[in-house]
C-alpha cells in the first residue's frame, strides 16, 4: 500500500432550516416547544432593542465604547438556549444578548460601559465569566473551567464564544487542541460575522470555512446559517449533547454578519460599502423568525408592537436606575480602585491608599 489513505476528512456542510424569507424546511424543522420559541424570540428582540438603545447612549456620550450585536442575535440565543444554569458561559466581547439571556442586568452592562469597575457584577451563583477583551484568550479559560467540571465528575458543560478573527490567534489553536486531546466538554461557538474590524474573512485565513479548522484537532466541526435560529438551535443541541454525554468538544461555526460598526470607535465606511451589507439586510435573523412564528400563529404585529413598547419602557427605567447609580458612585469616593488586588492588603497598598485619600481631599479642594 504505497500511497494509502490514512484518514478521510469528510465534508463541511452548511445547515440551514429557516431561509431568508422565513420559509422552513419541514424535514429538518426541530421540535421546539412553543414557549421556548417565544422565549428565544423575546430574547432576540430584546437584544436588538437593547443594542439600539446602547448605541444611542454611546452617541450621546453617556457611555464609552462597546461592540454592537445587531444581526448576530440568532447565533447567540440559538446556542445559549441549550445551557442549564449550572453550565458555564464564557463570552468574548460581543455577546450581550447571550449574557442577558443568562441573567446579566442592563444596569451592570451599562455601568461597565460607562467605565465603572462596579459593572463587572456577576452574581455569586451565576456561572458566567465577564466579557473578555483580549481576543481568543477566553477560549483557554473555557477549557480549564471544563477540565475542573469534568474532574469533579459533574456533567455541566462550557459554552464559549469567539469571532472569525479570533481563529487566527495562537490561543484559539491551543484551546481547541487542549480541549480535543483532553476530551473536554466545551462548545466553541464561532460567530463568523465576516469581519474582524476592517479585515474580511478572506484576508484572515485561506481556509474556506471556519468549521474545517476542527479537523486540525480531530474534533467535529459544524457550520450553520447563523442568522437562522432553528439551524443554530439544532447544531448547538448536537454540540451541547456531545459535550455533555461524550465529553467531546465541537467547533460550531455560525455564518452571520456584523451589521453595525465594529465598536463605536470604528468607521466601517472606510472598508466596506453598502453593497457589501445590503444582501445581509434581507437575511435578518429576527424578521425571518417572526415570519415563522406568525405562520405558526404564535405572534402577530400587535404582540410585537407591545413587546417593543414594553422593552422601551423597561430600558428607559433601567437607564434611569443606571444614571442614579452613576451619580451615587460619583458622589461617593473612588477608593475602591485599590480593593481586591489581592485577598489581603499589603503594606504598600495600604500606604498608597492612605496617600490617595489625602490627595483626593487636596484635588477636590483645588477643584
Amino acid at each position: 500500500m504505497p500511497r494509502h489513505a490514512v484518514e478521510r476528512l469528510g465534508t463541511v456542510t452548511h445547515l440551514s432550516i429557516l431561509d431568508e424569507t422565513g420559509a422552513v424546511d419541514k424535514a429538518l424543522e426541530p421540535d421546539i416547544p412553543e414557549t421556548d420559541l417565544l422565549e428565544m424570540h423575546r430574547a432576540m428582540l430584546y437584544g436588538r432593542c437593547f443594542d439600539e438603545r446602547m448605541l444611542k447612549l454611546q452617541r450621546q456620550g453617556r457611555i464609552g465604547t462597546f461592540a454592537p450585536i445587531k444581526g448576530q442575535e440568532a447565533a447567540q440565543i440559538g446556542a445559549a438556549a441549550h445551557l442549564r444554569p449550572s453550565d458555564w458561559l464564557v463570552p468574548s466581547f460581543r455577546e450581550i444578548a447571550a449574557q442577558i439571556w443568562r441573567g446579566a442586568k442592563p444596569r451592570d452592562i451599562w455601568l461597565f460601559a460607562a467605565g465603572y469597575n462596579e459593572g463587572v457584577a456577576i452574581p455569586e451563583d451565576a456561572r458566567d465569566l465577564p466579557l473578555c477583551v483580549p481576543v481568543a484568550t477566553q477560549l483557554l479559560h473555557a477549557a480549564g473551567v471544563a477540565y475542573a467540571t469534568k474532574y469533579r465528575g459533574e456533567d455541566d458543560i462550557v459554552m464559549t464564544f469567539h469571532g472569525d478573527g479570533a481563529t487566527s490567534e495562537g490561543d484559539f489553536h491551543e484551546a481547541l487542541n487542549f480541549s480535543g486531546v483532553l476530551d473536554l466538554p466545551v462548545v466553541f461557538v464561532c460567530q463568523n460575522n465576516q469581519w474582524a474590524i476592517s479585515l474580511p474573512l478572506a484576508k484572515q485565513t485561506r481556509s474556506k470555512t471556519i468549521a474545517q479548522k476542527a479537523v486540525a484537532y480531530g474534533i467535529p466541526g459544524l457550520r450553520v446559517d447563523g442568522n437562522d435560529i432553528l439551524a443554530v438551535w439544532v447544531a448547538a443541541k448536537e454540540a451541547v449533547d456531545r459535550a455533555r454525554n461524550e465529553q467531546i468538544p465541537t467547533l460550531l461555526e455560525c455564518v452571520t454578519y456584523r451589521m453595525e460598526v465594529h465598536t463605536t470607535a470604528d468607521d466601517p465606511t472606510r472598508y466596506r460599502t453598502e453593497d457589501d451589507v445590503a444582501p445581509w439586510r434581507k437575511r435578518d435573523p429576527i424578521s425571518r423568525f417572526e415570519t415563522y412564528l406568525k405562520a405558526k400563529g404564535l405572534i402577530d404585529d400587535k404582540t410585537l408592537k407591545g413587546m417593543r413598547e414594553t422593552f422601551r419602557d423597561a430600558l428607559k427605567h433601567d437607564w434611569q436606575e443606571t444614571q442614579e447609580r452613576i451619580e451615587e458612585l460619583d458622589a461617593g469616593d473612588p477608593m475602591g480602585i485599590f480593593d481586591a488586588l489581592y485577598a489581603q492588603d499589603y503594606p504598600h497598598i495600604t500606604e498608597q491608599k492612605a496617600y490617595f485619600r489625602e490627595r483626593l481631599k487636596r484635588e477636590r479642594a483645588h477643584g
Binding site: V135, E169, G170, R359
Partner: protein, 325 residues
C-alpha cells in the same frame, strides 16, 4: 512646516520612510484599508500599496515573528500592535528573538525593526487599553525603548527608530495623539536615540518625565515658577538606553529630583532613575528622589482613570515637598 497632531506626525514619519526606502514595510491589524484604528497609517496603502502596508490576520506573535523574518531578510518592518495591552501575545517573539538576534549571532544577523504601540490611560478606553508597562521592555537587553511627548519629537524619533540598525520599541502615549498640534518642520530635525532633552532649564530641582506625563510635568514647572521655583524639566525620550549623563548633570546642579510616570510605581522606570541618581549623584542630593507615578494597581476603568494618573497638582505638590527637605 505643517500644523500636525502627534498621530499625524507619526503618519508623516512613516510616509517619509516608505518613500525613502523600499525595504520599509508597515504591518499590523487594520493598518491597510482602514488606515489603523487610530489612523496612524491613514492614506499609506493608497500611496504605497498593499504589499508595503500589510493588513495581517489577528495574531500579534504572528506579526512580530513575521517581522523578525522580514528583518532577517533585508527589510525594515514597522509593526503595529493595536494597543500595548496586546503586545504580550508577542512577548516571546520579542524576548526570545527581537532582543537577541544580533547578540547571539555575533552580529551576523540583525533585526532592524520598529514595534509601534499606543500605551497609557486617558482616552476613556476599555479594559486592557490603558496600561503602561514600558519597564518590561526597558529591562530587556537588546531592545531600545523610545517614547515621544509630542508631534515634533514623535516624527523625529520615529524617523530615527525606523533608520536604526537595531530593534526599537516605539511606545506612543495615546492620550497625546490628538491632544495638541505643533508646527512640524518640512524636513525632520534628527533626534538621536539614546538622548534626553532638557525642555526647561532650572536650578532648584529636576523634574524627569516622558510621554503623556511630560506636558503635565511642564505645567507643574510653570506652576512652580509662579512660586519663584525654577524647575529643570527633562524629557527622557529614550527610556532605554538611558541618557544618564544628561540626568546626572542636571541633578548634580539642582540636588533634587522628582520622577514622573503613569506606570505603576514598584519596579517601574522611576526606580531605575532613582538607582542611577543614587549611584552617580548621591553626594549632591539634598533630598531623596521622589517618584510621582501610577499606583501599584491596574489602571481603573475609565470613569476613574484620572484618579490614577499623576495630576499637575500632584506633581507640583510633590515637587514642593521635595524642596522642604
Amino acid at each position: 512646516m505643517a500644523e500636525l497632531t502627534m498621530i499625524q506626525a507619526v503618519n508623516l514619519a512613516m510616509r517619509e520612510a516608505l518613500a525613502e526606502d523600499d525595504a520599509v514595510i508597515l504591518l499590523g491589524q487594520d493598518v491597510g484599508v482602514d488606515g489603523g484604528i487610530f489612523r496612524a497609517t491613514q492614506g499609506l496603502i493608497e500611496d504605497f500599496g498593499a504589499a508595503r502596508v500589510l493588513d495581517t490576520p489577528l495574531a500579534e506573535a504572528g506579526i512580530i515573528g513575521m517581522a523578525v523574518g522580514m528583518a532577517l531578510n533585508g527589510m525594515k518592518p514597522v509593526a503595529e500592535m493595536q494597543f500595548s495591552g496586546f503586545s504580550y501575545q508577542a512577548f516571546h517573539q520579542i524576548e526570545n528573538h527581537v532582543a537577541r538576534f544580533r547578540w547571539r549571532t555575533n552580529g551576523r544577523f540583525s533585526v532592524p525593526m520598529v514595534i509601534r504601540m499606543p500605551y497609557g490611560a486617558g482616552v476613556r478606553a476599555l479594559e486592557h487599553h490603558s496600561e503602561s508597562r514600558e519597564a518590561y521592555w526597558a529591562h530587556t537587553p537588546g531592545l531600545k525603548l523610545v517614547i515621544p511627548s509630542g508631534p515634533i519629537k514623535a516624527r523625529a524619533l520615529l524617523a530615527a527608530a525606523i533608520r536604526d540598525p537595531d530593534p526599537v520599541i516605539f511606545y506612543e502615549p495615546k492620550a497625546l495623539y490628538r491632544a495638541f498640534k505643533e508646527d512640524v518642520p518640512d524636513v525632520a530635525e534628527p533626534i538621536k536615540i539614546g538622548k534626553a532633552d532638557v525642555v526647561r532649564v532650572g536650578k532648584d530641582l529636576t523634574l524627569i518625565a516622558y510621554g503623556a506625563m511630560l506636558p503635565r510635568a511642564v505645567d507643574a514647572a510653570t506652576k512652580l515658577a509662579g512660586d519663584g521655583i525654577e524647575a529643570e524639566v527633562i524629557d527622557l525620550m529614550t527610556i532605554s538606553p538611558l541618557d544618564e549623563e544628561t540626568i546626572i548633570q542636571s541633578v548634580k546642579k539642582t540636588g533634587r529630583a522628582v520622577v514622573v510616570h503613569e506606570a505603576s510605581r514598584s519596579f517601574g522606570v522611576g526606580a531605575e532613575l532613582c538607582a542611577r541618581i543614587n549611584d552617580k549623584a548621591f553626594f549632591h542630593l539634598e533630598a531623596p528622589v521622589k517618584r510621582v507615578t501610577g499606583y501599584d494597581i491596574h489602571p481603573p476603568f475609565f470613569a476613574r482613570e484620572q484618579h490614577y494618573l499623576p495630576s499637575v497638582l500632584r506633581i507640583y505638590d510633590e515637587a514642593r515637598e521635595t524642596l522642604t527637605i
